[in-house]
Amino acid sequence: MSLEEARRKKHDKMKRRFFYRSVVLAILVGALLFALISNFNRDKEVYRAGDEAPDFELVQINENNELETVRLSDLRGKGVMLNFWATYCPPCEKEMPYMESLYPKYKDDIEIVAVNLDQSELVIHKFINKHDLTFPVVHDKNNDVMDLYKVKPLPSTFFIDPEGIIVEKVEGALTLEKLEEYFQMIQP
Amino acid sequence: MSGSIAAFYVIGIVLYLIATLFFGNTIRDKKSKEKQNKSGKIGFIITVLGFISHIVYFILRWIAGGHAPVSNMFEFVTFLGISVVLAFIILYLIYRIDILGLFAVPTALVLLAYASMFPTEITPLVPSLQSHWLYLHVITVSIAQGILAISFVTGIIYLLKAVDQSRRSKRTFWLELVMYAIFLVIGFVFSTVLFKALDYSASFAYIENNQSVEVEYHMPPIAGPKEGVALQENQMEPLIETPGWMQGKDAPRKFNTVIWSVIFGTIFYLIARLIMRKRVSAWIQPFLKHIKLDMLDEITYRSVAIGFPLFTLGGLIFAAIWAQIAWDRFWGWDPKEVWALITWFFYAAFLHLRLSRGWHGEKSAWLAVIGFGIIMFNIIVVNLVLAGLHSYA
């Protein structure tokens, strides 16, 4: 073994060792990062602005509206305001008149789908009659759609553009001005 | 407990007491060079008889209750005491060292005395405990802890012999502290027996977690419950209140017991110091002249080597399987679970230090003593202070 050869061999070995150790360390660090990131993202798997709104179909129960069922994918081409509400939620009740007041004006471009989460239909009818609502109200009796959209506080509203993409998610009640602003965002 | 079950239970305890006297006799004749002498043999036979008596107690109570008697604190701690005896019997058969009996059997007795602090009736099993995993989990953990207790015993003997008592040092201080702790335990046993004999009773009502609960004291209440109301006439007025952060079941009563134990333990310790006129550990040292240090070290290691895998199996693996079945998660960071993990971590460190870094002899002995301290912490403090899923009883 010449000195030169030995030196080269040693150098190769060092390189190999460096490579092998780096790979093992990289795998371990990768696993650690994965753990930290998944832990951080826990409970955050919800639909956000930019996601495609998942499809659903529910029976429409507002007698003032002619639709029988509402299927979200059928509403492509129109902007959709997807509003989750319940009769026992005072802020929901507060924003209903605003929705009703804007509905006639935007009716051709935008559909309001008010997903109700009450138990009994009776109370919903009473509520609709009290506020003379004309937009479609669907009854999510089993909370299927609520689970699908991972809705936590009420009211929660999703504004969906004509392509079916969520433009904005709002938790809490809206004012008339805000509502109109969002309507203009999702108009075709 | 019905008559015959209680009888076998008490007979076992009495036999252990007698056996201890015989084991004590073995160190008195210092001249005999033999490893084993007659007195030790008799002590061992009596211990085995006591153990058999407790096995009978165990079986009878199982039959009477319809489930293995390991379901509440009384039953669990009792079984732990029996396990220490079992572990002693096994290791005595291997190594034939009498001194082991002199320390191990009293350790078992102290555990049995601690058990008597809890209500002794047979309790019905709540739904979460109705599983065969209860038996597997508790029995394996107890036996493992019993064997680990032997490593504590040999660790203590090792330290008593090996620590240089001719001058004051950190080591003598800590060892003396361990001795003091042992006196506290003796104080506990004494106060329990004393007040039981006097048939003392006092009771209080107090608020815990927004619920009114009652607690019955069997010792004069130095520490009463927080904002407790006395329920009996002429009962002693508590001198202090139990702090609110003590959350376990009947925490005020247990806290009060601790205070009495400290009082009696300290008195006994001071008396001992007055009589001996030196550190207790220094006084004991000459009695241990003929014991081989490496033999003690070997037993310490052996018992950890047997106890650690058993503890892993019972305290972590079986526990996890059962928790998965009963509580839908195999691990939940409940205080008892965490302390089991800490115990496991500790003995894992013990083994690594020993096998990989050569911590033999005295270092190993210190670790064995600390390890058993952690186990006792899990049994006593976790149940007394920290409430959790395991605070049944």
Binding site: D140, D144, L148 | P124, R302, P309, G358
Partner: protein, 555 residues
């Protein structure tokens, strides 16, 4: 040069402490195992070249070496141990009692534990076990586990594979058990070898030099158990992905059928009945204990359920066609398993009404009844017509009545405290009488009603709380735990024993090594030497100890 040539002709890797082949100590490396300071050789890793001890050039090497040290590993374990203990000082956020006055952690800790509780909360110790630093700590232990094992297993494996029966004198004489027998008979040597063979020692012989070896596999125990632990850590990592692990909760009322959450709407559950059973108060076995506790003890929580699977493709909200998967009872300790999911009995509520029956009475005469009607509180009708011509209309329904700012309203959709505003139409009348009725409330707003409504009957239902679990990582945990146990037992309960019987210039050199249980190997050798003239090995460590003790007692 990175190879060290021993006088026996073997080339050792750099950092070798004892020649892999003959065991001769390699002069310049003796400090690595502390052999330079002791009479006996440190045999822990056979004096093999643990790379970590030698290379320390790049940053990668430095990190590697940090984790390769058992000392650092133990330090990490001790830190984890202390941190875990800290987490038990006060209950973790998830164990804040359900009946605490305020369960918000930011309030609870300070309120219950004072200033210490506040500090505890502010340091984030209330969620210690899912904190980033605790996870990093556990991960670091994992890293140390991997690197320590790699760094020790490979050279140890090499050393035990390469070892030769012939050992260097300085190796043999510095073993803990050693003896020399100058004039020995070859028959005796043969006999000893034969005896060892009978004790299930494997005999390796080369040029008259003998190595008897037993239970080498126990040396792999630590590495096997570390593999088990690594598998457990990997399982814990996989558990963080929703694909492998699902954890959800569902409340189902008796008679209700609903979708099981986190199953992509593919499964439905129907609660047929919930059972809550208590131990018999007069049960002789437990009478004493129950008297002391002063309360009944629950014997069984059970939900009888039917599980359905959705047939065909549906989208959420559509009424699907269902196919029965299974019908079974869920009890505590007896979860229901179906298609990879598990349902656990974990709670119940009995605070909802299912029906209420009202009677119509004369306002001035309690005894006079005009009939009854029953309202299904989950889905009430608009009107109820009685046979005798009475008609009752529901004007308002408050399932969970509360008076807020003077306004009657409901706090939830669940019939926990139902209240109604009824319009009662007497026969042949268009003029309704209004009355408000709820539990403990019966108001006649006008004060002129001729008829009075009263609750005559009601029924309640249980709601059963079930945990929904899917955990594909369980088998991995089980495999990891099993491998760990096998490794521990393999390493702890068997001992690697070696006896060298070498000849050097007509002297028989007898040396032995075991990784634990020296009494055992001494017994073995005693038995092997029985009836021969060969000298029994001397325990050189014990000799040392005795010397120390003697000097200690002399003082």
């Amino acid at each position: 040069m990175n190879k060290l040539k021993c006088e026996c002709g073997h080339f050792n890797p750099e950092g070798t402490i004892l020649c892999e082949s003959c065991g001769k100590p390699i002069e310049e490396n003796q400090h690595l195992d502390g052999n330079d300071k002791s009479k006996l050789l440190n045999m822990r890793y056979e004096g093999s070249a643990r790379r970590s001890l030698t290379y320390n050039r790049t940053i990668v090497d430095k990190i590697w070496n940090f984790f390769s040290s058992v000392r650092n590993g133990v330090i990490l374990i001790v830190i984890a141990l202390i941190a875990s203990g800290i987490g038990t000082i006060f209950p973790q956020a998830m164990y804040i009692p359900a009946n605490a006055p305020n369960r918000d952690p930011s309030v609870y800790y300070e309120e219950t534990y004072g200033i210490l509780g506040k500090i505890y909360y502010q340091l984030g110790f209330h969620e210690l076990y899912s904190s980033w630093w605790y996870m990093i700590l556990i991960a670091l232990i994992g890293v140390s586990l991997v690197i320590c094992s790699l760094d020790r297993f490979i050279p140890l494996y090499r050393a035990l594979k390469i070892q030769k029966p012939k050992r260097h004198y300085s190796f043999l004489s510095r073993q803990r058990l050693f003896s020399e027998t100058p004039d020995f008979s070859p028959e005796d040597k043969k006999k000893v070898v034969e005896n060892l063979k009978n004790m299930r020692y494997k005999i390796f012989e080369q040029d008259g030099q003998v190595l008897a070896e037993k239970n080498r596999f126990s040396r792999w125990g630590p590495y096997v158990n570390h593999i088990g632990l690594i598998i457990i850590l990997i399982a814990a990592l996989l558990r963080m992905t929703p694909f492998m692990f699902i954890d959800d909760y569902v409340w189902v009322r008796e008679g209700e059928r609903k979708v099981i959450p986190s199953t992509d709407g593919q499964y439905y559950i129907e609660n047929k009945k919930f059972h809550l059973e208590y131990y018999d108060e007069d049960d002789e076995r437990y009478k004493e204990a129950m008297e002391r506790m002063g309360q009944l003890v629950v014997k069984n929580y059970q939900t009888d359920v039917v599980i359905y699977k959705v047939k065909g493709e549906t989208i959420p909200g559509q009424e699907p066609e269902l196919e029965k998967v299974t019908e079974d009872a869920i009890r505590m300790n007896e979860p229901l398993k179906f298609d990879g999911y598990r349902l656990y009995q974990s709670g119940y509520q009995e605070n909802e009404f299912s029906t209420m029956t009202f009677g119509i009475f004369a306002a001035n005469d309690e005894e006079k009844s005009f009939g009854e009607f029953t309202v299904d509180l989950m889905s009430p009708e608009e009107t109820y017509e009685l046979e005798n011509g009475f008609k009752v209309e529901i004007s308002q329904y408050f399932p969970d009545y509360i008076l807020q700012d003077g306004e009657p309203t409901t706090q939830s959709k669940f019939p926990k405290n139902p209240a109604f505003v009824f319009r009662v139409y007497p026969p042949d009348s268009d003029e309704p009488e209004v009355s408000f009725i709820g539990i403990g409330r019966n108001i006649d707003p006008t004060g002129e009603n001729k008829y009075r409504l009263g609750i005559t009957d009601f029924s309640t239902h249980y709601a059963s709380g079930l945990t929904v679990r899917k955990d594909l990582t369980l088998p991995i945990f089980v495999v990891g735990a099993a491998i760990f146990m096998i490794g521990v037992i393999q390493g702890m309960y068997w001992q690697h024993r070696r006896v060298w019987i070498n000849e050097k210039e007509g002297t028989l050199l007898l040396a032995a090594h075991t990784n634990k249980n020296w009494f055992g190997i001494k017994r073995d050798i005693e038995k092997a030497l029985e009836g021969t003239e060969i000298n029994m090995v001397v325990d050189q460590e014990e000799e040392d100890l005795e010397k120390v003790e003697q000097t200690a007692t002399q003082e």
